[in-house]
Symmetry: C2
Subunit: 197 residues, 2 copies
């Protein structure tokens, strides 16, 4: 676990913020039903600044390969692994870090995100699958609602991380990338930077 | 098309912002592959403040019923309809409003969102499916990247709308709801408010 401060000038304002390690725990993955949604979820975790993810449910090597291929091409050190026990993941994490559970039934993001950001602890962000055990609500340090409306774990996770980092996820730089987008007003431009950035 | 101002106090600061009508255009839906992702996308559109959505590709009555059921239970006037021509949707909208296309190859969200917010026009937000025709990049007023990394149209749309509204989507109130969540630190509480709010 590490924890340090840095000054960001996003949105034109100096913001003094805590930088923390964030991992995502995806519960109850079902390859036959959830393949694309879980892929999107894990890619959103990576794109918005999580360091890695763990998933439970059923092992899915295609999912793992897809994520590994994205990391190889687009850089960074994001890792994904399977676990057969969400409970042991939460308990182990809880020994040194804090646990956030995203659920539409929790406290509003806008009311608790500052407290979470300022806790200075590394975070495990638990994201439900088909059926979330009631025990998760009790084990989490925060049950957080990204709106109290039904939408998607993908959008909930992205907006949570976006707010947690106060927008810095939009400007992530990924070391060791083979590919890099050069932003364009029209069309597509992708550079091969595998020879070194 | 309407356009008015209001003052929001989200994040503790008075923000003077334009309120605009936003609709989402989902391209190339394939029921057999995209069912859950498109459902998540449309629900995210609703939860983050879009007024409605149009989709192209293949007609999917199960999708339409799912969204209709959510609107009946959770309120608001969000509507979803099928179109057999994305081109005519974009052209018709372009006569009075502006068009945003979300793509990882576009200009960074953080560089263009103020300009889009301040344009004072209603917006059609185009979100790709499997294969986006190159013509879309030319017809859009803005091609916008929510990070230049691969993730998900669901997370891209949610973060785009969240930034567009400067966070107000988190506090949406949906008239005519049958169900309403009462936020809790632990557990779930849902009220039946069908007798009137």
């Amino acid at each position: 676990m590490y924890c340090h401060y840095r000054t960001s000038f996003l949105r034109g304002n100096p913001i003094l913020s805590v930088i923390m390690v964030v991992r995502v725990l995806r519960l109850g993955h079902r390859p036959e039903r959830d393949k694309r949604v879980t892929t999107h979820l894990i890619l959103a975790a990576r794109a918005f600044g999580a360091s890695g993810a763990v998933y439970t449910g059923k092992r899915d090597e295609v999912l793992e390969e897809t994520i590994s291929d994205v990391v190889s091409e687009w850089g960074g050190s994001f890792d994904l692994r399977f676990s057969d026990s969400w409970r042991s993941e939460v308990r182990e994490w809880g020994a040194s870090g804090r646990v956030v559970h995203l659920t539409m039934y929790g406290l509003p993001l806008q009311d608790v995100v500052s407290e979470i950001r300022n806790c200075r602890s590394d975070l495990l962000v638990v994201v439900g699958g088909a059926k979330v055990p009631g025990e998760v609500y009790g084990l989490a340090d925060w049950n957080v609602a990204v709106t109290s409306q039904p939408h998607s774990e993908v959008s909930a996770l992205a907006v949570f991380l976006h707010e947690l980092w106060e927008g810095r996820g939009l400007e992530g730089v990924y070391e060791g990338a083979r590919l890099r987008v050069v932003p364009q007003a029209r069309g597509k431009r992708v550079e091969d930077v595998s020879g070194g950035v």
